[in-house]
Symmetry: C2
Subunit: 341 residues, 2 copies
DNA sequence: CTGAAAGCGCTAACAC
DNA sequence: GTGTTAGCGCTTTCAG
């Protein structure tokens, strides 16, 4: 038989569609007897309400959109997982779209999701997003949105971040505590908040420990690739005095590590290497890579929870004070760094 | 102003809703003049049809469901990307759900997607799925479905696979050609097709090259983890004669590689190690890991394309002859294997 | 060429 | 308690 509908159930029981609908949803003004009858039939036909009709009627999709800079990425895919699982618990499904770190794609994908009437949006800003009109527009339209990871202070909404600066500070401090005197930093391109904050944390740590900042040993990686790391390793090796490297992401750090090893540098005796993110691969390099753990899963989960708050607030017409949640990080010390005395 | 609707456009132009609808879709029975007028207003108000209404009316969601054994996984996240991008080109969005290799979760998530009236399903069977009623049910209901990667011969639908057996055969053959005489195999648990096929490929290669199969040097990993690999490395080392290892996945292979190196074994001089999947990390081990490349992106793309065929066939009431597409693999030779003479 | 009308399946205000 | 009704916004058949 074709799909059961309220109408069919109603006909079978000689009730009206409205009554059946209410019975199913346990409205108090329906007698227990009819509720029972209705529920029996619902069971029998294993009736499932038609989502299309519900969506149209209730103006909600029970779907949220997740825009992620890169899908094939250890940290970000953990976020996908965290979001998906948290959402599922509340009856939401997730549509994932990649921004590929591009402003245009970010806009296009945001549009696609809005068109589909997603109930909310989770967004990590693409690296080259500099204008924010598309986002303020979304906020003005009243679509719930939460920013995660790469955020901007330019607008008022819930945010989830890790404290990159603090984490970078601690990573650098560890290198200093373990005896490094001349610590290079490998950063990414100028713009993204994360890169900048990690750089600042590095600088602050140096300052607090009376090590003078030397611009010439801050390397900037454009492509942020494993091979880029190797190339930078080469430049690091040339500078005889460097005895520590703090790279802003594990992909680079591992390239640097392998590069240095291949050039005959003893790790960590001659140079300590510290990464950032705790990618799976950090366990597998030789020596294994010390790094900063950032829990993407937890970030994803929290991001959804905040979005959910926002969705509920919208439904109930409450104004929310927006907060920024910080996901804690911790140092993961492996074998690419010396032990502190 | 609130969202533009067909009705509002119609009122503004003193037309009927139906005419406006047809004008927008370029129906031949509408005069060019009214089409122009309508399109001007559409432009002006930047009218977007309400998807909820379209869904309800057309009985299609333009959303497909993708069930993936594991989200945080290099190969599978490449599949997610391939599917998402291919789908987007045809106007479909993708909901991704994880089966965590569990039959129950697979069923639950399949149900969730069906409830949402996805237009089609992409499924890779969970390792412990042994009963297939839930899937035949879906096929019987007429929901388009395509199986990818971990498939089963039990039902009639489009499938996308890599030829695991052939790929494993070639990997093993390479080890033999490079002079290995006693090649261990590290496999996964009994069930999944992929594991079995890779094992069979290994066996066939031995046979074709007159190397007798030795059950005692086939190791089975239950947890399929990096540490499991290390533990197996230990057992391999004890067997003095083994001079080659073919592991059915890179995660294990890398554990074995690192494990052997740590126990002082020279790679590849004493033992060659060959992995499978070409995970990113294979470039980063020391020595780097030879492996078999399987292109998840391409698999995802092809899987969607087949699903799209199926969706169209359903719309047009055509019967399809179902095919199984094989995604080619290739050996990626790095430094964990000896060069053939 | 255009308009009217039915209906996709559900919800909720209102009437009885 | 239950039924009636009026939509949500769109598509498509049929009539004129």
């Amino acid at each position: 038989m074709s799909k059961p509908t309220l109408k069919k159930i109603a006909e079978r029981l000689n009730l009206s569609v409205g009554t059946v609908s209410k019975a199913i949803k346990d409205y108090p003004d329906i007698s227990d007897k009819t509720k029972e009858k209705v529920k029996a039939v619902v069971e029998e036909l294993s009736y499932k309400p038609n989502k299309f009709a519900q969506n149209l009627r209730n103006q909600e999709s029970k779907i949220i959109g997740l825009i992620i800079p890169q899908i094939v990425h250890h940290f970000f895919s953990n976020i996908v997982l965290g979001v998906t699982e948290a959402a599922e618990k509340k009856g939401y499904l997730v549509i994932v779209l990649e921004s590929t770190e591009s402003y245009e794609t970010e806009m296009k994908h945001l549009d696609l999701l809005i068109e589909r009437h997603v109930d909310g949006l989770l967004l990590s800003l693409a690296d080259n997003t500099i204008k924010y009109n598309h986002i303020t527009e979304i906020i003005d339209q009243g679509v719930p949105i939460v920013l995660y990871d790469k955020i901007s202070k330019s607008f008022d909404c819930h945010k989830v971040v890790i404290d990159d600066k603090k984490a970078a500070y601690n990573a650098t401090k560890y290198l200093i505590d373990s005896g490094c005197k001349k610590i290079a930093h490998v950063r990414g391109p100028l713009k993204p908040q994360t890169t900048v904050d990690r750089f600042l944390g590095y600088k602050d740590a140096l300052k607090d420990h009376h090590i003078s900042f030397d611009k010439s040993i801050v390397f900037e990686s454009e492509k942020i690739s494993f091979d880029d790391g190797k190339e930078i390793a080469h430049r690091i090796k040339k500078n005889k005095n460097i005895d520590g490297v703090f790279a802003f992401t594990d992909l680079l750090a591992s390239g640097i590590l392998i590069g240095l090893v291949q050039e005959g540098v003893k790790i960590p005796e001659e140079i300590s290497v510290m990464g950032f993110s705790n990618w799976r691969l950090t366990k597998m390099t030789s020596p294994s890579l010390s790094t900063v753990n950032q829990c993407g899963y937890e970030m994803g989960q929290k991001a959804f929870e905040l979005l959910y708050e926002e969705i509920i607030a919208k439904k109930t017409n409450t104004k929310l004070k927006h907060k920024t949640i910080e996901i804690p990080t911790e140092l993961v010390i492996r074998n690419s760094t010396k032990k502190p005395a």
